[in-house]
């Protein structure tokens, strides 16, 4: 895998280099990360200074993770997916192991949910990496399967997803579980599942969810979040308080927004956890419809580039990995932004590249890096390009 270092300019700008990066994707990623940092600052500075703390504290912390994320993106971009394929099994096993650790006393709980592993100064959220591990595992399984998929393969895929999903559900994190479901459906679809299989799975999913409700296996706070979504006015001050305040913030932003640092809802901290789950609220209030639409468009660019990458992937494994990653992003984006504008219930899924939170940014960057790697290496071995299904 040798390449020539050009004299005139860095490799990524060389139009002819086989390793030329996907500039559009990278720019969209960097811009989103930058906007994210700005928003984290605007959302946290007033609260911090009101408490007499350094208003840039949160920004600085997030910036460190962003830098780490950039590095991880670069590293991931340089990993050949085909080489990674051999390690899928261990990666999957390790992530399951980590999920189990969360359920032990080592796990640190925040709020009601227990999702963290406390590693001293760094807190680590294994479920973020479990998503990536599951995508790799599914891709590995489906890449080697005959098309159309047999019922046996489909069911194996379900089992691969079900194990970590069950562990995450016990944490409990309904949002992440739903991500698994969505990713599974999309990957099975592009992996060659029949519509009948997909329909059956969808049916099982619905029955399963209803069953969980019936058996009281879903915690009350999860049900409350969902029902509060349906009637936010009924408990404005409790459950859906966030959502109502977020909706007010965004709605009052208007076309161009109230301007940076001028958002009253944001500045006066009417929206709790705004820097993490409700970061889009800060965009909507301060930059209005225009700002919100630009952010959505940037995500659109990333999703588009990922689908193009998937189409041009040199192997069926890469094709499936990239599609899976795209599906994960798409679901996160839709559910998170949808939550801030009361289109979706509150589930706690972060907005990729923008929400504050170290693990999330690093994990998302790693995922994007892997997909990007597939783009860089799309032409390496034409023979390995995905065959017609």
């Amino acid at each position: 895998m040798a390449y020539t270092v050009q004299d005139r300019s860095p490799v990524f700008l060389d139009r002819d280099s086989p390793l030329r990066p996907d500039l559009t994707l990278v720019v969209a990623y960097l811009v989103l990360a930058a906007i994210g940092l700005l928003m984290v600052y605007s959302a946290t500075a007033p609260g911090l200074s009101a408490r007499g703390l350094d208003p840039t504290a949160e920004l600085k912390e997030q910036a460190i993770f962003v830098v780490i994320g950039f590095i991880v993106f670069g590293v991931a971009s340089s990993i050949d997916l085909m080489e990674l394929k051999g390690f899928v099994g261990p990666i999957y096993a390790i992530s399951i192991g980590l999920l189990l650790v969360v359920l032990t006393p080592l796990g640190d709980s925040e709020g009601i949910a227990q999702r963290w592993i406390d590693l001293g100064p760094i807190q680590f959220q294994p479920s973020e990496f479990a998503k990536l591990a599951v995508i790799l595992m599914l891709a590995s399984l489906l890449a080697g399967a005959a098309v159309p998929l047999t019922w046996q393969t489909t069911l194996r895929a379900v089992v691969f997803v079900a194990v970590p999903a069950f562990l995450i559900f016990s944490q409990p994190d309904l949002g992440t579980m739903l991500v698994f479901g969505f990713v599974l459906l999309v990957m099975l679809f592009v992996g060659g599942a029949t519509l009948r299989q997909l329909g059956f799975l969808a049916l099982v999913g619905v029955i399963g969810t209803v069953g969980l409700f019936q058996l009281n296996q879903i915690d009350e706070y999860q049900i409350n979040r969902l029902t509060a979504f349906l009637d936010p006015a009924s408990n404005e001050l409790s459950l859906s308080y966030n959502q109502v305040q977020s909706e007010i913030a965004i709605g009052s932003g208007g076309l161009f927004g109230k301007g940076l640092f001028e958002g009253s809802q944001t500045n006066l901290q009417f929206v709790p956890v705004q820097a993490s789950d409700f970061i889009f609220t800060a965009v909507g209030e301060q930059f209005g419809f225009v700002g919100g639409a630009i952010v959505i468009a940037l995500f659109g660019v990333i999703l588009f580039r990922l689908l193009v990458t998937a189409r041009s992937a040199r192997s069926r494994f890469s094709y499936l990995v990239v599609t899976g990653i795209a599906a994960m992003f798409a679901f996160h984006i839709f559910v998170n932004i949808g939550m801030t504008i009361r289109l979706m219930p509150v589930t706690g899924l972060p907005l990729p590249f923008m929400s504050s939170g170290g693990t999330v940014f690093v994990a998302m960057s790693a995922a994007l890096g892997l997909a990007h790697s597939a783009w860089i290496r799309r032409n390496m071995t034409l023979a390995e390009r995905p065959s017609e299904l």
Partner: protein
């Protein structure tokens, strides 16, 4: 489907989702932006109301009757106090303010003032300084000036001024009233509440999500309420209130004296025998009713005529001497001066004894309180008698249980014969201005400022001291009302038939007496509604001359003192002038008014009745009612005071409606009869009027026919004393009275006071002093209760007097009522006399109160 196509499908799904997000953003941020902006704004501001000082109230001479002073209140801003700190703060405050910490914590918990809790009102300046200096021990506590209502003249004109308090549910329906406000509850405080309150100011703060104040966003200065200048003259008001109080005390003393006399006069055994006879009669009547027997009374039913199948009275009649005697005068409640009180509240805890005051005090012992079928039942003992009672039970003759609680019993000890209250109004007949008004017992409005204690409120409630009976009290105006048929007579040249000393044939629609001869011994149906006379039936008809109509006001009428009806079955019933059964002899219209001759006006009513038209129920039948209504009776005057009552001028239509609706206010069977009209002519029966209506009706009759709308507020002034509004003088109606009628009425009213022979008020005005000749008036005595005779042999009457002065060009009309006070000439006229002395001869001219003569 190849992989590209499948990716395409996935792409379409992804972008559809992103499109959905964009669309929703668009509708929110472009379509509904204004609604969201509003919500965002209201999110960030916190408005703290600053109260406006309530407007003052002055009398016509500028005497301040209600004002406002600035007091210091301790307010806790809960948003500035962390949850953990609250208990400590409450304890600090409790130690300082001398209130239990638990109470302060309760206030914190039940905060309804948006985070600002007033824990103390009206603290001293020293205390305020201490709080401010120890700020660190009182986080979130501030001392702020707060307007507090003052009533410098205390009880003076309390019923006109009213009082203030926290709003109830009804008050809260008003747009500008919040639960923390103070609103007028009675008097002009209530009727002019919106004006007096002004508009409160507001301080708007910018707050963050924790409602913590960030900065001042704006301030609206409160607008002080307008001040009222009343038509009252506070010096006159004071005289009226003094006279009302003294008059009531005098009436009670008279009552006590009569009791003492009757105790001496009637021996114990006599009274028991009387009671036994009454009880036997009642038992017989019940027996008759039960067996359907047509025997009339014991006096007419001969034993020999009784058929064998009519069983003997089934019950052995006995009376309990204790209920007859033990509960009578010696045991009735008295005050410290030994004077009767109408109602006394006695609260006795379980296992304890309470004193029932009286000439012979008794002890009420609550032996036990038990639960019986979820109800609390108390076993109480008085002397050797044991009673088991629960809420609202009456027992031992004069006692009624108010409530039985788990550990105590509250009873009312009532004296139904004790004069209840006195009411008075002084009006200017030239424009309807109220110069003085009130009733006694009264109250000091200051007790309501800052909240009134349960006990205080209960004792005011027991005496109905809060109600302004001048506009809320309804009374049958009795003989004072005779001025109305008097005016009718002169205006219509309509006079009674003179029957000589004979009986009067009444047509087929005889007075109600005929309807139930069985109960005649008790009292006739019409009578029990309070007709002004005794009546009885006799078998024999007496011969009579042919009645001749009188042709003028000076034609004489023969007043025999006995009024006889021939009923349709041939029997004749006699109604007597109960105050003057011996008769007044021959007198004309003027004499009839001066001497208050019932018969003259009865006969007038009967003549009106005879000229009725049964088909339509109109013609002359309603003429008297029409005169009454045009003079303001039967409808609230619309005075600028709350809770005014309408009164009632009964007629056939009203009677039928009441019967149909079975309200129990009229006899259940039989038609509207001539007797009912006779009752109205002498202000009895169902006729009802407020003391104000009575004064206002007289004002119209003596001023030439203008019915003014009475008013207590003359002007509205702002804080600088500038007049901003003037209450208009509103003529409600103009009755075209012949000047001669007015002149005659004034003359005759003057005679009531001045005529040495027959004026019913002459005795009460005997020591009026100079200028008595320019004073006129009319007495009235209204029968209120025909008490069951097993309990009492006393007549209880309302005493009335309406005075007018100066008689030839009246500037004052005085209306006085002493409820259950006795006769008008004896009890009410002296009260009015003092007020009129004050008006005519000045404060020095007022002489000692003394009872007048017992006269109707």
């Amino acid at each position: 489907m190849n992989s590209t196509m499948r990716l395409g499908v996935v792409g379409i799904v992804f972008f559809a989702l992103l499109g959905l997000l964009t669309l929703r953003l668009w509708t929110m941020q472009i379509g509904e932006v204004e609604a969201y902006e509003e919500r965002a704004l209201s999110n960030q501001s916190r408005v703290v109301a600053t109260p406006a000082p309530r407007g003052d109230i002055y009398d016509r001479n500028g005497v301040k009757l209600a004002g406002t002073r600035s007091a210091l209140a301790v307010v806790v801003d809960l948003l500035l106090v962390e949850e953990e700190e609250r208990e400590l703060l409450a304890r600090n405050l409790a130690a300082f303010l001398d209130t239990p910490a638990s109470e302060i914590l309760d206030q914190f918990a039940n905060d309804s003032q948006g985070g600002r809790v007033t824990v103390a009102e009206d603290i001293s300046e020293v205390d305020a300084t201490l709080i401010v200096e120890h700020r660190e021990e009182f986080p979130g506590v501030s001392v702020i000036p707060q307007p507090v209502r003052t009533y410098p003249e205390a009880e003076l004109a309390a019923h006109v001024i009213g009082y203030i308090g926290r709003p109830n549910e009804e008050d809260l329906e008003r747009e500008d009233v919040k639960p923390t406000d103070v609103v007028g509850k009675a008097g002009v405080e209530r009727s002019y509440d919106a004006l007096l309150r002004g508009s409160e100011g507001a301080i708007e703060y910018r707050v963050d999500a924790k409602r913590k104040v960030l900065s001042l966003a704006g301030e609206t200065v409160p607008q002080a309420g307008g001040s009222l200048v009343l038509t009252l003259d506070s010096a006159l008001q004071e005289q009226l209130q003094d006279s009302l109080r003294d008059g009531l005390v005098q009436a009670r003393r008279l009552e006590m004296r009569e009791r003492a006399d009757s105790l001496v006069e009637r021996s114990r055994s006599e009274r028991i025998a009387d009671a036994l006879a009454e009880a036997q009669e009642a038992a017989l009547a019940r027996f008759d009713e039960a067996t359907g027997s047509t025997t009339t009374t014991t006096t007419t039913a001969e034993p020999g005529q009784d058929d064998d199948d009519v069983p003997a009275p089934p019950e052995e009649v006995t009376v309990d001497p204790l209920t007859v005697l033990g509960s009578l005068y010696p045991g009735l409640p008295i005050d410290d001066d030994g004077i009767c009180v109408p109602t006394q509240r006695v609260t006795v805890a379980e296992g304890e004894s309470g004193v029932l005051s009286g000439i012979e005090p008794r002890f009420l012992k609550v032996e036990s309180i038990d639960t019986l079928d979820d109800d609390l039942v108390a076993t109480v003992r008085i002397g050797t008698d044991r009673y088991t009672v629960s809420d609202n039970d009456s027992f031992a003759g004069t006692l009624q249980v108010l409530v039985v609680t788990e550990d105590e019993v509250i009873v009312y000890h009532r004296d139904r014969w004790c004069p209840v209250r006195s009411v008075g109004v002084v009006l200017d007949p030239n424009d309807g201005s109220v110069l003085a008004m009130g009733s006694y017992p009264s109250y000091d409005p200051s007790v309501f400022v800052g909240g009134i204690s349960q006990t205080d409120f209960a004792s005011l409630g027991t005496a109905s001291a809060l109600q302004n009976f001048a506009v809320q009290g309804l009374y049958a105006p009795a003989s004072t009302f005779k001025a109305v048929p008097y005016v009718l007579a002169l205006e219509e040249s309509y006079y009674p038939l003179d029957r000589g000393v004979g009986d009067k044939e009444v047509g087929d629609e005889a007075p109600a007496e005929e309807e139930s001869p069985d109960s005649a011994a008790d009292s006739s149906a019409a009578d029990s509604e309070g007709s002004n006379g005794d009546s009885e039936t006799t078998d024999a008809a007496e011969e009579a001359e042919e009645p001749q109509p009188l042709l003028s006001d000076t034609d004489e009428y023969s007043c025999s003192g006995e009024f006889k009806f021939r009923l349709s079955d041939g029997t004749v019933q006699t109604k007597r002038d109960w105050k003057w059964p011996q008769g007044h002899g021959p007198l004309d219209l003027h004499g009839a008014l001066q001497a208050s001759c019932d018969l003259y006006f009865w006969d007038m009513a009967l003549r009106l009745w005879d000229e009725r038209n049964d088909e339509t129920g109109v013609d002359k039948e309603n003429l008297l009612q029409e005169y009454s209504r045009s003079l303001g009776f039967g409808t609230a005057t619309g005075i600028d005071l709350p809770f005014e009552r309408d009164g009632l001028v009964p007629d056939r239509a009203w009677f039928r409606e009441e019967q149909r609706a079975e309200t129990g206010r009229v006899r259940p069977d039989g038609p509207w009869v001539g007797g009912d009209l006779m009752d109205i002519a002498v202000g009895q029966g169902a006729m009802l009027s407020t003391p104000l209506q009575l004064a206002n009706g007289y004002a119209a009759m003596v001023n030439g026919g203008t019915v003014w709308q009475p008013r207590v507020v003359d002007q509205i002034v702002d804080t600088d004393g500038e007049v901003v509004d003037e209450y208009p003088r509103v003529p409600l109606q103009q009755v075209d009275l012949d000047p001669r009628t007015v002149r005659m009425l004034r003359q005759d009213l003057q005679q009531v006071v001045n005529n040495a022979e027959r004026g019913t008020a002459r005795a009460a005005f005997a020591d009026f002093g100079p200028n008595v000749e320019i004073v006129g008036g009319k007495t009235g005595t209204g029968e209120v209760i025909k008490a069951p005779r097993t309990e009492a042999f006393r007549q209880v009457d309302n005493a009335f007097f309406v005075g007018v002065a100066p008689i030839n060009s009246p500037d004052y009309v005085v209306s006085i009522v002493v409820e259950r006070g006795g006769s008008g000439g004896r009890v009410a006229a002296p009260v009015a006399r003092q007020v009129l002395q004050y008006l005519v001869n000045g404060p020095e001219g007022v002489t000692e109160l003394a009872p007048g003569l017992d006269a109707d």
